[in-house]
């Protein structure tokens, strides 16, 4: 980790043929913060997260996650980072416990005390009662909670959450957001939260980055962004208003 920065990118670029998905992206995420990663669909957020995980090779530029190069040290980075994709998939014929055991096996987690850990995680995400039900019969919200438990099983230092509350009912979304907040607060887990729900992002994020057309058009705390755009602090303007202002300008 360099100077408390858990994520650092310099000129990160990804091109698919003539199309530029991420265009010379440079930003930093501090250790222990919740970073709201905002932008419209197709802005390049998911591509950026994939590059930070070492799953996609950048066309140009470099990145460091927990002080490691995600391309050269992909496995080490993936050991430290838990990633919940937007459309997380499951094996429908497994139950929640089997799903978690499989992910634990992939992560190389010892089988000793694994049962206790799984029980604790299922309790944490509110799935204890449905632990032995086939995942194929789960609702989208329940699947999302299981996905969150799978991400947490390897005790990550950083969480990349891509639309984690998508498809959850308001109560479920609120509980998940509170859970993310408590993980950050109590366990010092750094969170990169990509979401279209600006209210939720505003509620828990320390800083936000707004990405439009592959470029980071704004980065900083809500106060700073409001100051930059409107000349006042965030008390006057919501994140939605700030975001829309940037979006309309671009």
């Amino acid at each position: 980790m360099d100077n408390g920065k858990i994520i650092e990118t310099v000129g990160l670029t990804k091109r698919y043929g003539p199309q530029t998905a991420v265009d010379h992206l440079s930003f930093q995420v501090e250790d222990g913060e919740i970073f709201g990663f905002l932008g419209p669909n197709g802005a390049g957020k998911s591509t950026t997260l994939l590059m930070l995980l070492g799953l996609s090779r950048p066309t140009e530029g470099s990145a460091r996650v927990c002080g490691l190069d995600p391309i050269r040290k992909a496995r080490e980075v993936k050991r430290l980072v838990g990633y919940l994709p937007e459309n997380v998939g499951f094996y429908g014929d497994m139950d929640a416990v089997q799903s978690l055991e499989y992910v634990a096996g992939l992560s190389g987690i010892s089988r000793a005390n694994l049962g206790d850990k799984i029980e604790r995680l299922l309790d944490l995400v509110g799935l204890k009662a449905e632990a032995r039900k086939k995942v194929g019969a789960y609702s989208r919200g329940t699947r999302q909670r299981l996905g969150f438990a799978e991400v947490l099983i390897k005790d990550p230092k950083v969480l990349f959450l891509d639309e984690p509350t998508l498809g959850l009912d308001p109560d479920g979304a609120l509980r998940l957001i509170e859970l993310i907040h408590s993980l950050n607060r109590d366990h010092n887990i750094t969170v990169v939260l990509s979401s279209h729900n600006l209210y939720q992002v505003q509620k828990i994020s320390h800083r936000v980055g707004i990405m439009i057309k592959g470029k980071m058009v704004a980065e900083g705390s809500m106060e700073k962004l409001a100051q930059d755009k409107f000349g006042v602090g965030d008390k006057e303007y919501s994140l939605e208003e700030i975001y829309m202002k940037y979006f309309q300008e671009v």
Binding site: R75, K78, E86, G89, K154, D162
Partner: protein, 319 residues
């Protein structure tokens, strides 16, 4: 290694608990039972002829029953096992969104494809071994013939070649499951290639041979013309894995076969010698005869897997 083991274990569980495996295994077990029963009955009725052969046990596998022998059955339908086990291995993960979850775990990306291929090969091995054991058991019960050491070795070699042959088709189907996003397309492409290479190459070989070196009324008596035509036919036919496999296993399972060629030109003295010394080939000699075919089959299997591996490793994974 932990990633490879986890994927391998899960895939193996999936294969053995899937309906498609159960159905396929039931069909193969049924055919094996029927074939071995018919062959066993046929051999029991011809015990006199049986006493003249040195390797009666191998006849259980090479003798044609009502429809086909065990060896022919694996040559024709063995590829289906490979295709069924692999045609949706990668694109199903992609379609269900589990591929991104898999590779975002702290494993090397190749653990996914290696684990899947390895699980498929182990499943194929267990399936083929079961068939051989079923026929062996039936043979022992019906005919009462105990296999000799050389027969066991020949069956082992046959089994290894068969595993590579079916694994080749597993590799093909995994390759298509990487190349095509649609499961139906990859299944269709795999079956189409199987049909083309197994059935149409032989027809194509005839056409090529008759075009390049035609045998007509004028040169039908000319051995060189006939030989040239046959050689071209055989060479083109080798493009088919089924032909390679059939030639490799026929010599292994039938020690009386001394060559893989369809036509052998012999002088009168050679012909006389051959008729006087009609002994079976030792296993080592049979292995030398089938060495080119076996090596080619193994090489194609490995090349096919290597292509799948490379394509999978270079493919961009999107959410």
């Amino acid at each position: 290694m932990q990633g490879l083991y986890a994927v391998f274990r899960k895939e193996l569980c999936d294969h053995f608990s899937s309906y498609r495996f159960v159905i396929l295994f039931a069909v193969i077990a049924m055919v094996s039972f029927i074939t071995s029963y018919v062959v066993g009955i046929h051999m029991r009725q011809n015990l006199e002829a049986l006493s003249n052969t040195k390797f009666p046990f191998l006849m259980l596998f090479s003798t044609t029953g009502t429809l086909f022998s065990m060896v022919q059955f694996v040559a024709f339908f063995g590829p289906l096992i490979g295709l069924v086990l692999g045609f949706d291995s990668i694109n199903r993960e992609r379609a269900h969104g589990t591929l991104i979850k898999l590779i975002s775990q702290p494993i090397y990306r190749d653990a996914v494809i290696n684990g899947k291929f390895l699980a498929g090969v182990v499943t194929i091995s267990i399936m083929l071994l079961s068939i051989v054991l079923v026929i062996t058991g039936f043979g022992l019960a019906i005919v009462g013939v105990v296999p000799g050491i050389e027969e066991i070795w020949r069956l082992t070699v046959y089994l290894v070649i068969s595993i590579f042959y079916v694994s080749l088709w597993l590799g093909v189907s995994i390759l298509f499951s990487i190349l095509f996003r649609s499961i139906a397309t990859s299944a269709l492409a795999s079956v189409a290639l199987w049909i083309f290479l197994s059935f149409f190459v032989s027809l194509g070989a005839d056409v090529v041979a008759n075009t390049v070196a035609p045998v007509n009324q004028q040169n039908a008596a000319n051995p060189e013309a006939v030989l040239r035509n046959t050689r071209i036919k055989e060479s083109v036919g080798l493009c088919s894995p089924m032909v390679l496999y059939s030639r490799a296993t026929a010599t292994i399972i039938d020690p009386m076969r001394k060559t893989n060629r369809a036509i052998v030109l012999m002088g009168p003295m050679e012909e006389l010698l051959a008729s006087r010394f009609q002994n079976p080939l030792p296993l080592s000699q049979s292995l030398i005869v089938v060495f080119p075919h076996t090596t080619a089959l193994i090489a194609i299997t490995l090349i096919c897997f290597a292509i799948s591996y490379t394509v999978f490793m270079m493919q961009e994974i999107r959410t």
